[in-house]
């Protein structure tokens, strides 16, 4: 709610505290349980630094599980905030982070990288990043300038370019027969297992300024709900803000998606859930989506590792399995 400063701030602090605790719990759980058969009590001891110095467990925890949990938190937060921004920007409750073609572009880039035999990081990630940013530019460029409703024009351009990319992806998948097919499918369903510490660090560094800019634009995002015309009457440079939001959000999403693959439903479910609970004020929702989305994906990734008796599931399978029914339940209750 738009309220005088102190009430907004105190509400923001309360929300951040609660979701922050949730995120922390999810991250600690994500480090305690995993695919290796070690009991969680041992992991907890290692986490607190009370295990034998000779043991490999601390190394597993900090070198493998920690980067993975961090990646899940960053990607989940970015996807949720991205979904939130696109839903407000395009005035469409079904908008998700991938709606403007980011998924298609990233996938075509990543698959090219896999087929060329590049390493997951930085090779495949870099191509995926270039792919999604490239497609984003094409979508913005293709959107007619003179149309009355730019939002629908953007949406349709995005959907069509995405469809084109899907055709390319299917072509690649059909033509690939060897072990690389497995890599491609895992990438398409979302895979957080390849996280490296330096990868996480650079991702965090890339995302941070984006979050700051988005937060500064939170109040203008509220105004966009009134439609372009009225937002303009209230002093907002609608075109400028729209393109700035598009650029920043696409950059952040590309940076996240290129390292995780296509994790679906997070950017759809989390913003809707939080909006239902917290109302439409974006100055609350943006930090809430960052923390809540992070916690959600960390939990989903935990399930993806723990549920199968052997190996692990792509995390995108879990997010979709939970996300789709959850979204239907939300839809029933919210009367969009």
């Amino acid at each position: 709610m738009s309220l005088p400063a102190h009430r907004l701030v105190s509400r923001l602090l309360r929300v951040c505290l609660m979701l922050g605790v949730l995120l922390l719990v999810s991250m600690v759980s994500g480090m305690l349980w995993g695919s290796s058969a070690t009991a969680w009590q041992d992991c907890l001891r290692a986490l607190l630094g009370r295990s034998d110095p000779e043991e490999v467990l601390p190394a597993i925890l900090w070198q493998i599980r920690f980067p993975r949990v961090m990646l899940a938190a960053l990607v989940g937060g970015t996807l949720s905030v991205g979904g939130l921004v696109f839903q407000a920007l395009l005035h469409n409750p079904l908008a998700e982070p991938y709606i403007l073609g980011i998924s298609g572009g990233a996938a075509v880039g990543a698959i090219s990288g896999i087929l060329l035999g590049l390493s997951p990081f930085p090779g495949v990630a870099a191509l995926a990043f270039l792919g999604s940013m490239g497609v984003m530019l094409v979508v913005i460029f293709l959107t007619p300038r003179e149309t009355g409703d730019k939002r629908n024009a953007l949406l349709l351009s995005g959907v069509m370019v995405n469809a084109l990319c899907t055709a390319l992806i299917l072509f690649f998948v059909t033509m690939t027969q060897d072990a690389r097919l497995h890599n491609i499918l895992y990438w398409l369903m979302g895979d957080l297992s390849v996280a490296l510490p330096r990868q996480i660090f650079s991702l965090g560094l890339l995302l941070l300024p984006g979050f700051v800019i988005l937060y500064l634009l939170a109040r203008p995002l509220n105004l966009l709900y009134l439609g372009e015309e009225q937002a303009g009457y209230l002093g907002l440079n609608v075109t400028g803000v729209t393109y700035l939001l598009l650029a920043v959000t696409s950059f952040m999403l590309s940076a996240a998606v290129c390292q995780s693959g296509l994790v679906g439903f997070v950017g759809l479910v989390v913003p809707h859930l939080l909006r239902l609970m917290l109302g439409p004020e974006h100055r609350i929702l943006i930090p809430a989506c960052l923390l809540g989305g992070g916690a959600y994906l960390v939990f989903c990734d935990l399930l993806a590792r723990v549920l199968p008796s052997q190996g692990e599931l792509p995390v995108g399978v879990i997010t979709a399995l939970i996300g789709a029914p959850l979204f239907i339940i939300l839809l029933q209750r919210s009367r969009l």
């Binding site: 738009s2 005088p4 400063a5 907004l8 500064l216 509220n222 105004l223 439609g227 002093g235």
Partner: protein, 298 residues
């Protein structure tokens, strides 16, 4: 007297078609200025141009003595508030939140609303009688209530000029009078310049100190209601027969519409009383009515 808005030889169009053609006018500061005219005369386009939102293809727009280009959007929104014809209601915000959005031109980028902003919003809601709706969402309100909420938001903006596009169109009689009285009060007590589009000639005649009759993107007449609302001019512009009398309460014109089955009777009545010379000629020329180009009002 200073002018609130001044247009000099302004041309505005959408693509090829010019909607306003070589239009010059001046709205004095503190005026109650009402724009009337048939459909697709260019009223809404004129209102958007006066608000500085639509930039002309040719000509000059000055707001409060400075060219419109000299204002940032935010600075413009601190001086000019607009109540549009249509407000989307699929907005999840409450009435109070929507009214508070009127403060945004006064806030910095990361600025938060203060207690003072809340007080201004409360005042504005009281003035338009929507205080009791403060916690409701916009999509739970009637059309008239939404209109009053948007007017409250415009008041909360603390502008010097308020521009309204048919603000009384969806209001019942009591609320029409209430909104017009409120605007008159704002004009008299706070020195607002009120610029309004209206289809209701009688309401316009009762409240305006200056009327502007617009047709086909050009000024047909401008002046006091009695000077503008004359029989010949209205018949010419709207292309229909009507009666122009005097409001029994004040020395302002009063316009009465004439149903088709009464046309013959009206013609002879008009001629007997020497009220018109050309009667049906204008009607035949313009066909079925005033809506010559058939498009929606812009």
């Amino acid at each position: 007297m200073k002018s609130a808005v001044r247009l000099q030889q302004v041309w505005v169009g959408y693509g090829q078609e010019a909607v306003l053609r070589d239009l010059s006018l001046e709205v004095p500061e503190g005026a109650f200025f009402i724009i009337i005219g048939p459909n697709s005369a260019g009223k809404t386009t004129l209102a958007k141009t006066l608000a500085g939102q639509l930039r002309p293809d040719r000509g000059k727009v000055e707001i409060l003595g400075r060219p419109v280009g000299a204002y940032s959007r935010q600075a413009l929104a601190r001086r000019v508030a607009v109540v549009p014809q249509y407000t989307p209601v699929d907005i999840p915000f409450t009435v109070l939140e929507v009214v508070l959005m009127g403060r945004s031109p006064h806030l910095s980028l990361a600025g938060l609303e203060t207690r003072r902003d809340l007080e201004l919003a409360a005042d504005a809601m009281a003035a338009t009688q929507v205080s009791h709706l403060a916690k409701r969402r916009l999509n739970q309100l009637s059309g008239g209530e939404v209109q009053r909420v948007i007017i409250a938001r415009a008041i909360c903006q603390q502008p010097q000029i308020i521009i309204l596009d048919e603000p009384t169109a969806s209001l019942d009689l009591a609320h029409q009078v209430h909104v017009m009285d409120l605007l008159e009060h704002l004009q008299k007590s706070r020195g607002f310049t009120v610029i309004m589009i209206s289809h209701d000639l009688n309401l316009a005649a009762m409240y305006a100190d200056t009327l502007l009759l617009l047709a086909q993107g050009q000024v047909v007449a401008q002046g006091e209601p009695a000077q503008v609302l004359t029989y010949d001019r209205l018949e010419q512009t709207y292309g229909c027969v009507l009666l122009v009398g005097e409001n029994p309460l004040m020395r302002r014109p009063q316009v009465t519409l004439v149903p088709g089955r009464m046309l013959a009777k009206t013609q002879s009545y008009l001629q007997q009383n020497g009220l018109t010379g050309q009667g049906g000629a204008a009607r035949e020329k313009t066909g079925a009515g005033g809506d010559r180009r058939g498009g929606p009002s812009r």
